[in-house]
């Protein structure tokens, strides 16, 4: 029993958030994880209005993504926000395939989280999860998920209360702070990327599965870090 998570492949228990700091129109696509960045059409837009954001004042807009056949469709193809606001994407369908959000601009992609973006994951299985940046920045950390005390009403109430408390991990320039966190089953961890070259938050078990297999030519080569391929 395990709960493999990957900011590059968003599922029901994941959210991707992007803060838009400057006015403009930002087109994007939603596609299957791993291929969204290859999209030639970007049919959806985030329109950012207003002046530069004020410190600490951030509104948030939620975009709900639906799986329709082979496509992913947002509930609103166009959202309008103010500069400095965050837009968050989430798909509530437990049967939807993993997806990614990919903008025309480089900073806007769930595949590579850069400045002022974030990824959240609610952990639904107990265990110790090591994560790392699949793109090779060196960012990494550990999430330990423990089982709640469900043997008493008091324990269950305590568990439900814990679930309402999110845990924040700040990632800046390849460093996670705190690097290790302890949560309880069902609790959410929000990875806020303050600054970085474009990272992922990926379960190392997923990374292990992506290691190239001898005889198979196609795999994703890291473009940064010690294993980078020119």
């Amino acid at each position: 029993m395990s709960d493999h998570f990957d900011s590059r492949a968003l599922r029901q228990t994941d959210c991707y958030g992007q803060r838009f700091m400057r006015p403009g129109t930002y087109a994007y696509a939603i596609g299957h994880a791993g291929t969204a960045a290859l999209a030639q059409d970007h049919p959806y837009v985030v329109v950012v209005e207003g002046d530069a954001p004020k410190r600490g004042e951030m509104a948030q807009t939620l975009v709900t993504v639906h799986a329709e056949g082979k496509a992913f469709v947002p509930d609103a193809p166009k959202v309008t926000v103010n500069a400095g606001d965050m837009v968050m994407w989430h798909c509530p369908d437990p049967h939807a395939r993993p997806f990614a959000v990919s903008g025309e601009k480089d900073f806007f992609s769930s595949d590579r989280l850069v400045n002022e973006s974030g990824y959240s994951h609610a952990f639904t299985c107990t265990g110790t999860y090591e994560w790392a940046d699949a793109h090779g920045s060196g960012a990494k950390g550990v999430v330990r998920v423990s089982a709640p005390d469900s043997s008493s009403d008091k324990g269950i109430r305590a568990w439900q209360s814990q679930q309402r408390q999110g845990v924040l991990v700040m990632v800046k320039d390849g460093q996670a702070e705190p690097a290790e966190v302890d949560v309880v089953l069902g609790q959410t961890v929000f990875f806020a990327v303050v600054a970085g070259p474009g990272i992922s938050v990926t379960d190392t078990a997923v990374l292990e599965a992506e290691r190239p297999v001898p005889g198979i030519a196609f795999y994703r080569k890291p473009t940064r870090g010690k294993d980078a391929v020119a």
């Binding site: 029993m1 709960d3 029901q12 228990t13 959210c15 958030g17 803060r19 410190r55 600490g56 004042e57 951030m58 948030q60 939620l62 709900t64 965050m86 968050m88 989430h90 509530p92 437990p94 002022e116 974030g118 959240s120 609610a122 639904t124 299985c125 107990t126 089982a147 709640p148 469900s150 269950i156 568990w159 439900q160 679930q163 309402r164 408390q165 999110g166 845990v167 924040l168 700040m170 089953l185 069902g186 959410t188 929000f190 806020a192």
Partner: protein, 267 residues
């Protein structure tokens, strides 16, 4: 008066039926039905072993404690949503320093429908009455004991353990389901209660009863032409007699009851 008469007492009948029952071999069946609230597909096999024979005039062979060892493999289709409460991961709001508050949406957890394979087995006992049947089919005389009526099966004390075992099997099989951890113990209890001992026996009884009811126990078999002297040369052919009629009954010949076979013959 019949020309040939053979008789065996209860002791011999016991030994004889031991051999007959052992020769019946295993029986099996498969299908799909409902076990408590679950849809279930199954395959069940059973093997009989002899009990204690009581000969009852004029035509009944009673076998007390006839034992059927059975084993079942079943796949339960279980909608976890029928047993577990609706739950969700609540909305979470997190303060990010120098940025503001970010909130994740509430996430509703949908419990899946799962298939759970289970295997179990036990034995039942039954007391059956065999009626005697004499037939001539294809030139062969057959005397058989045929189970009369539908026997009442007595399930063993292991049935309760089987129900509990199904509950544990279900809990183990769904351990992969996200967020189910705290609910596993309760799920096992809910499943066990939903099936119940009566539910298991009520499901199993109609499936394995045919392994006993209507069963034909071969007692005697003989071609109607019976060779009494083999051929010794081309001018001295075999000598056969014809069995004109066969009778079978239970008689009380003091001090005991006997199974008596009789035959009328002609040249």
């Amino acid at each position: 008066m019949s020309e040939i008469i053979a008789a065996i007492d209860e002791g011999a009948a016991n030994d004889f039926l031991d051999t007959v029952v052992a020769g019946l071999g295993p029986q099996s069946t498969s299908g799909s039905s409902s076990l408590g609230p679950f849809a279930v597909s199954y395959s069940v096999s059973g093997t009989l072993s002899n009990g204690t024979v009581d000969l009852i005039p004029p035509g009944t062979i009673r076998i007390a404690d006839l034992r059927l060892d059975w084993s079942a493999s079943a796949t339960l289709s279980l909608d976890l949503g029928d047993f577990l409460p609706e739950i969700h991961i609540p909305q979470v709001c997190i303060d990010i320093p120098c940025v503001g508050t970010v909130c994740t949406p509430r996430i509703d957890i949908t419990w899946p429908t799962v298939s759970v394979p289970v295997s179990f087995g036990d034995f039942v006992r039954a007391t059956v009455d065999l009626g005697l049947s004499v037939t001539l089919v294809g030139g062969v005389w057959k005397v058989e004991g045929i189970v009369q009526g539908v026997p009442s099966l007595a399930f063993g004390p292991g049935t309760a353990a089987i129900v509990a075992g199904i509950g544990l099997a279900v809990a183990a099989a769904v351990a992969w389901v996200p967020l189910i951890g705290p609910f596993l113990a309760g799920l096992a209890i809910a499943v066990t209660a939903a099936i119940g001992i009566a539910g298991l026996t009520g499901w199993l009884g109609p499936i394995i009863t045919p392994f006993i009811s209507g069963t034909r126990f071969p007692v005697y078999e003989q071609p109607e032409w019976f060779e009494v002297l083999p051929a010794t040369s081309a001018i001295d052919p075999a000598v056969s007699v014809h069995i004109d009629a066969v009778g079978a009954e239970v008689q009380h010949n003091a001090p005991e009851d006997e199974l008596v076979l009789s035959a009328d013959i002609s040249a």
